[in-house]
């Protein structure tokens, strides 16, 4: 185990005005793992990050890193390297001096220069090493800050929105390079982001947070195929999962009054309202027992987004190939039973994934 959060809570204020920013959060990371804390603003991910870094006290619970309890230590004593907003570069120092700052004392001069140059070139700021931070763009500052963190030796790397300001043309290559570097050096990294594409691209496992509560901690594939609740199911995935409120009908569910879809062995109490979810990539166009009307058919260069009006609702289907249908046309569609997800309409808890119980 590397980083362990054990029943960690963060409460701001006290009494009637107390705000629970993080509630009873537990997770354990392996050494060499990349974990993303993912959620929208106010979900508790930044408070969690700040508690791990030591900028915020822990109200309840314990944090251990590489076997040491760290939650009472000063930030500098925790063995954590950080890159984040507000953790600014030192203005009077050049980019090279900033990146080499933590290294200078223990390493020889030549070794420091070599490492600084290597990490700067990896992040495409090799030609900016002699500049001062004030002469860099936002994206360049972000990369310099990331370089400074990655150049250090630490038990844990905390990276807050490390590539958020990067121009899209650089993002794919830099994500790949940084991931390769982290894996090669067997670093343990926590990435905090609101951007699920970044989390999916970089992380081995993702901790999805909402309302201060850890919703699910799992691999990207598991979040896609086995979301534990409706929040995770609809938060993860682009475009988001299609959801329909349905009722049991015979051995299946009724969709939009008319169409019924059979699910062998679907054990729902009669009349219970459940939410049926189907990912846009799993809707099959041109085949199946359902019928709808095409609202739009948008080709986005490498994928088609087809919108179908069905049962007073809009459903989105994604195809990797162009789809030959026009707006206003009727279309048959369907889905395989194993691609259906069922959730309790009242609590949002997952009832079942796919054709068989999970």
């Amino acid at each position: 185990m590397s980083l362990v959060l054990d029943h960690v809570s963060k409460v701001y204020g006290r009494g009637a005005i107390a705000v629970r920013a993080v509630q009873d959060m537990s997770l354990a990371m392996e050494a060499g793992e990349i974990v993303a804390l993912l959620g929208s603003s106010g979900c508790g991910k930044t408070s969690t990050l700040r508690m791990i870094a030591g900028f915020e006290s822990v109200t309840e619970g314990a944090i251990t890193l590489a076997g040491r309890r760290i939650d009472a230590l000063e930030p500098a004593g925790r063995g954590v390297a950080m890159a984040f907003e507000g953790y600014a570069l030192y203005p009077p120092l050049t980019v090279a001096e900033n990146i080499g700052f933590g290294l200078a004392r223990r390493k020889g001069r030549g070794e420091v220069d070599r490492r600084v140059r290597a990490i700067a070139e990896l992040l495409d700021i090799g030609d900016l090493l002699e500049r001062r931070p004030s002469r860099l763009s936002g994206g360049q500052q972000q990369r310099a800050s990331l370089a400074r963190a990655l150049a250090r030796e630490a038990d844990l790397y905390l990276l807050d929105e490390p590539m958020g300001q990067l121009e899209p043309q650089l993002r794919a290559i830099l994500r790949g390079r940084v991931k390769a570097l982290i894996k090669e050096r067997h670093l343990t990294a926590v990435l905090v982001t609101h951007d699920q594409t970044e989390a999916n691209a970089m992380a081995d496992r993702i901790a999805v947070m909402e309302g201060g509560v850890l919703q699910q901690f799992a691999s990207p594939d598991a979040l896609r195929d086995h979301p534990e609740n409706l929040f995770v199911a609809t938060f993860i995935g682009e475009p988001p999962m299609n959801v329909l409120t349905v009722e049991r009908c015979g051995d299946g569910v009724a969709l939009g009054g008319a169409a019924a879809v059979a699910f062998a062995g679907l054990a729902l109490p009669p009349g219970q309202r459940v939410v049926l979810g189907i990912r846009p990539h799993r809707l099959r166009l041109g085949e199946g027992a359902l019928a709808g009307t095409i609202v739009s058919n948008q080709w986005l260069g490498d994928q088609a987004h087809v919108v179908i009006a069905f049962a007073d609702q809009l459903l989105v289907a994604v195809s990797h190939h162009k789809v030959a249908v026009r707006v206003e046309e009727k279309i048959a569609f369907g889905f395989a039973p194993e691609d259906a997800h069922f959730f309790d309409a009242a609590t949002g808890a997952a009832l079942r994934h796919g054709g068989l119980g999970r």
Binding site: S40, E167, P168, Q169, R171, A172, I173, R175, G176, R177, K179, A180, K183, Q196, T197, N200, A201, M202, P220, T234, F235, E238, P239, P240, H281, V295, S296, Q298, W299, L300, G301, D302, Q303, H305, V307, L314, V316, V318, H320
Partner: protein
């Protein structure tokens, strides 16, 4: 002609020329997306059309009438912005009604039209709320309702979905095309997201350094970009651009770079010239070893929306990004990658302009 026509729009801030002669025409009911990197001049152009940029030169014609000399309020334009720009002290209802109140319409007509548009945008239940009590999505819908309620002839939307979350952005992407079509306004829609541009635009105008670099149907811009710069702005991950010097071939041109060898249906004029070979990541695929496939090392895989983005490295150090379907190759492995020659692009390295295709008669190629 009806709709919006602008010609020779120029704007400068001090010595910096922001707009350098922009011409565009948008038909009623049409959505033209204005797309470009930040700093390209998109917002300045919208402000110039609205009459909010006093220093701007050029002609703005709406429904055949030259409005260039009129003030903003006399142009019959509806606007919405990425920061919503709602009046904080007014309810959603009063915000939406404000353009009609300014025009002095009777109170009962205002009330009817506000409710109508609010229902269309599904914010009928929050009309009495002040902006601070609205979610970001509701704020954006309120701002759109205010832009649409006056039934403007021209609608200017400045990145309206920028500050709403992903779920809502998709919802609006689904609803907006129909809404805009039905409004019959000539819509100019600014975005920095190429997917949004392709999803919403009947056509896309690419603004770069103050000029329109290409204005075409969105698929055309993606498949046949006018320049290497436009090619790089569309696509995630972006197009690979590889330096090459193509040679003449019976079937067009033969280009080699990073281990790829392709025969391109491209004009022979580019033979021997310094060029950029443009390979879109999704047109690359794993292949069997062969003389035309590149042998590349897998550096890292970074999944993206059901696809695998793979960073690869050629023997000469060139980095290639591929977007694959199916199983992930392991980092450190060497794989063979083939490129779809029919989708490959070729650009003049000096000018950036795309080398046009040359249709070859069947049977000429050996």
């Amino acid at each position: 002609m009806t709709g919006l026509e602008i010609s020779a729009i120029h704007a400068r801030f001090g010595r910096h020329e922001v707009l350098r002669g922009v011409d565009l025409a948008v038909a009623p009911g049409e959505t033209l997306v204005l797309f470009g990197p930040s700093g390209a001049g998109k917002t300045v152009l919208l402000r110039a059309i609205a009459g909010l940029e006093p220093g701007a030169l050029g002609q703005v014609v709406i429904d055949g009438q030259d409005v260039s000399a009129r003030g903003p309020e006399a142009r019959n334009i509806g606007m919405a912005f990425q920061n919503f720009a709602l009046y904080p002290h007014m309810s959603a209802r009063d915000n939406i009604a404000s353009p009609l109140v300014a025009r002095g319409l009777p109170a009962d007509e205002i009330a009817t039209r506000v409710v109508e548009i609010a229902q269309l945008l599904r914010i009928g239940h929050v009309l009495s709320h002040p902006p601070r009590a609205l979610s970001n999505g509701q704020k954006q819908r309120t701002a759109l309702a205010r832009a649409l309620v006056g039934r403007p002839r021209v609608l200017l939307l400045d990145d309206p979905l920028r500050n709403v979350d992903a779920k809502l952005r998709y919802e609006m992407r689904l609803e907006l095309p129909r809404l805009l079509r039905e409004s019959q306004a000539a819509t100019l829609y600014v975005t920095q997201d190429y997917r949004e541009a392709m999803a919403l635009g009947d056509r896309v105008a690419v603004l770069r350094a103050g000029r329109i670099e290409q204005c075409d149907a969105s698929e055309t811009v993606y498949d046949w970009p006018a320049t290497a710069a436009v090619a790089r702005l569309f696509g995630d991950p972006p197009v690979n651009l590889l330096a090459c010097r193509p040679v003449a071939d019976p079937a067009g041109l033969r280009a080699e770079a990073a281990g790829f060898r392709l025969v391109l249906d491209a004009s022979a004029e580019a033979a021997g010239k310094a060029c950029l070979l443009g390979l879109r990541p999704e047109t690359l695929s794993l292949a069997a070893a062969g003389p035309d496939a590149a042998r590349l090392e897998v550096i890292a895989t970074t999944p993206l929306h059901e696809r695998l983005v793979v960073l690869l490295r050629a023997g000469d150090g060139t980095e290639i990004v591929a977007s694959l379907l199916g199983a992930a190759p392991a980092p450190g492995a060497h794989v063979h990658v083939a490129a779809d020659a029919a989708a490959a692009l070729l650009f003049d390295a000096a000018s950036g302009a795309r080398i046009p295709a040359r249709r070859v008669m069947a049977g000429i190629a050996a």
